[in-house]
Amino acid sequence: MLIKLSGGTVYDPANGIDGRVMDLFIRDQHLVEPPADNEPIDQHYPLEGKVVMAGAIDLHTHIGGGKVNIARTLLPEQQPAYSRPRAGRMRSGSGGIAPSTHATGYRYAEMGYTTCFEPALLPVNARQAHMEMADTPLLDTGGYALLGNDEFLLQLIAEGAEQQTINDYVAWTLRASQCIGVKVVNPGGISAFKFNQRALDVDDVHPHYPISPRDILRTLSRALHQLGVPHPLHVHASNLGVPGNYLSTLATMDAAEGLPIHLTHIQFHSYGTEGDRKFSSCAAQIAEAVNRQANISIDVGQIMFGQTVTVSGDTMRQYANHGHAHPRKWLCMDIECEAGCGVVPFRYRDRNFVNALQWAIGLELFLLVDDPWRVFLTTDHPNGAPFTSYPHLIRLLMDRSFRNDMLARIHPDAGASSHLASLDREYSLNEIAIMTRAAPARLLGMTDYGHLAPGAVADLVVYHREGNPEQMFERPMLVFKRGEVVAREGAICASVNGSTHVVRPEYDQGIETRLAEWFARYHSMSLRNFGISDDEMADGIGSPVVIHPCASTSHP
């Protein structure tokens, strides 16, 4: 099958193409060089006046694993708000803020997203996360394994284990859980909460182990660097949501000691204590630190007004916030001496000072961080808002007058205490393409994704060029998944299943001896059942793995 896309205006920042009218060719599942003149074209799409980009990549969205299922269970009364009827072979679904898997895949694809990453995959829950993502059609997926609150690692660090041993354990975890990266959530804090500690700042000492979050951050960021894992340590920093936490965030950046580190949903970590309400924006301080340190990347975790549900591994902070639950019910879970999970439904209100300022802080961060290659468009779905609000968010970034109209509607004191009105920046289509395609692919080491050069996987999106970016990004004209048209005019027309993206750094298998002993003594399952094989991924779970290379290993 040879497909020609002619005359579209292409935005492909990974290849330095910023709005060039050009032809693209797809052969089977990949983009290819223009064929010989005499080769017949099977399908031809004339795209004059249309915008063409690679399929969008969401590098931080909670779409798989136990906590999403818990959210679905906790909120049966919220689910009917969005019901998706069955249509032919397309499955039915429900749920606007915690959608069912099929509804998630369809809706993402309808918006031009072709790859999504679950950022908090508990290794012990990896099978479920991969199963849910396998049942999320049209998307390639992957996960970041949660480490840094597992008692095994904390004990290793506390004992002063060699970095090499840590590296082996990290690499083993990536292999066992079939993940592409490693995330740490409130380093040490989830574990500390199990010991009844209610707060743990970057340099506080854990109640059981003589180590601090800083030690965990340093050890893990170093491990990933030395293992050559492309995606840097993905960090949900200490003190989420606490006024004054920007200092913890700056300390977290510092703890990486210059090695690459990704700070996620940083909006929730950019709060000061100024003003009458002791709650203020520190977006400027955070953005300045990001601009200054090239080793740091962030995603924003923008909030949007309305009902949503917060799902997080950070039981310490979720428990602390349970009083804000709306509706008033919530759930926390301590999980397998490995991590935890807290689910607290939430309604952000534009007339509430704190919520309104959170909204402004997120936008300030987008606009104040200079390099679009290091700031990513997320709502931390569903924590800040459901992913379905992305087109609206894109409009907020691209259209200053629209942004100011929205600003005028929020709590007046919040508007007044934000710099947002003075920020003139408007994102260009090229910058949107960077932050939603090229940059995430690069940060994850997915060389064949997120761009449109010959050889790339043919995940691509054709947009109508509308005056209103929200309409443009809400209903693309065409979405191709691996060379097949799966959505037209914002409606799914075909369903294909995705793959699971992983990295697989090498490690000394000697670590498994130690792990086997640990599992036998303390765990409730055996080591051999912990890890997931490639065959199990492909045949049992239903999502074959795509392995991305790691950089050549550097040794300490």
Binding site: N69, R86, R91, E151, I335, Y522, G540
Partner: protein
């Protein structure tokens, strides 16, 4: 399906027959199936024995043997003409449930598990309030006080004692410092032998008193003026002692098996225990650990939840999912003639048979299942973890254990047969 080497001589079998999903079992095969099982577990032994000894009589139509082809054709006809198919039983593995859901979505079916009554006693508490919960490893390594409500956990989950309550080793909570408190009608029941030496604290209380005991504890721990004496002398003293222990514990765990709470509206009682654990977290740590997962109930519920957005007792009749744990109880749908076809899926236990009823019925059954009343179509399917690989959820809803294949006797998985039906139904 991914494969494992079919062999009985495996060192670490995973057991699909209870919600603890122990994966450290080894079978010593004998002349008549199993010589012995190590570590000892009557439930696992019985499950493996019945699975291995079962001699399938092949597909049947109204009791008469038919070819698989005929059985499938008849099933397709029944599904095509059904106006209100009911998919019940659902004792299967993850892929069996995935195929069931796809078929139910296609046919417009309603879904319920044979353990639905027990399961929804817990799920309703989560739906209405949420809770603070933990998993088996957390309880094993951290709990310094475990309150066990009811006397039947030990029959339903035989290795609960050595895997969670009194493990050989524990990271943070050595056996010596642990308090086990057992609430239930123990006067009329004998403590499990494994616990006798440990001498746990027992509180003798009939199930009808459990709500009052929980309420009294909540009131006492909240310093509200109540008279525990109303519970009666010995129980009142025990409750006062338990209140003190709960207040002083670093990490308490409250556990029960909802299947034991067979009285109506038992979710109200569970809600009280969950609220007690939640209250305790204001000053210390406490979690609930509901025991479930037998007959694959957690498994099918988890898959249903992610695929439809709702737990089981969800209807796909309207073209989109609608959930109602009271209206879509399979027993009621049969009794009030709201269903017109029963698809009964039960691959783990030959005794988990479809209910006696007048509905046309298709059974995807354990190969050893003998029906008292013959049904339109009986399709024997393999036992997950014996005849084919698969996945089963553990009680705590977090861990999905891979199930290996032990033998090859040509029995298809439920998933395989259901997918065949799907293909034949067309669009």
């Amino acid at each position: 399906m991914w494969t494992t080497e079919p062999s009985l001589n495996q060192k670490h079998l995973t057991c699909p027959f209870c919600g603890l999903a122990c994966d450290d079992l080894s079978i010593t095969p004998g002349d008549r199936g199993i010589e012995s099982l190590d570590p000892k577990c009557d439930k696992a032994k019985q499950g493996f024995r019945l699975a291995l000894q079962a001699v399938s009589r092949g597909p049947r139509s109204n009791g008469a043997p038919v070819s698989m082809e005929v059985a499938l054709q008849q099933s397709v006809q029944l599904l095509k003409s059904a106006r209100a198919p009911l998919f019940a039983g659902l004792a299967t593995d993850v892929n069996g449930m995935r195929a069931t859901l796809e078929l139910a979505d296609r046919c417009g079916g309603v879904l319920d598990h044979l353990n639905g009554d027990a399961m929804f006693r817990n799920i309703r508490v989560v739906q209405d309030n949420g809770w603070v919960a933990c998993t088996l490893s957390e309880a094993r390594n951290r709990a310094d006080l475990i309150l066990i409500i009811g006397t039947q956990c030990f029959d339903r989950f035989p290795r609960f004692v050595d895997r969670v309550l009194l493990p050989r080793e524990s990271l943070f909570s050595p056996k010596a410092g642990r308090h086990l408190v057992m609430l239930g009608p123990w006067q009329n029941n004998r403590l499990p032998a494994t616990l006798k030496d440990y001498a746990p604290i027992t509180l003798h209380a009939h199930p009808s008193q459990w709500a009052d005991v929980a309420g009294m504890l909540r009131a006492r721990l909240g310093n509200r003026p109540v008279d525990s004496g109303r519970l009666g002398g010995q129980l009142a003293e025990g409750v006062e002692e338990l209140a003190r222990l709960l207040r002083e514990a670093k990490y308490s765990v409250i556990t029960w098996s909802a299947a034991e709470l067979t009285f109506p509206h038992a979710e109200l009682v569970i809600e009280r225990w969950a609220a007690l654990a939640r209250d305790l977290n204001q000053t210390t740590r406490s979690s609930v650990l509901p025991l479930a997962g037998n007959q694959g109930d957690i498994t099918s519920n988890q898959v249903c939840t992610w695929q439809t957005g709702y737990p089981l007792r969800t209807s796909l009749q309207y073209g989109y999912p609608v959930h109602d744990s009271r209206l879509f109880r399979y027993q009621d749908l049969i009794e009030n003639n709201t269903a017109d076809l029963l698809i009964w899926i039960s691959s783990l236990d030959p005794e988990a048979k479809p209910p006696a009823c007048d509905l046309p019925t298709i059974v995807f059954g354990h190969p050893g299942m003998e029906l008292g009343q013959e049904v339109e179509v009986f399709l024997p399917v393999g036992v997950p973890g014996v005849d084919h690989t698969g996945h089963g959820y553990r009680s705590d809803t977090v861990c999905t254990l891979p199930l290996g294949q032990l033998i090859e006797r040509g029995l298809p998985s439920a998933a395989t047969l259901l997918r065949t039906l799907l293909d034949r139904l067309g669009d």
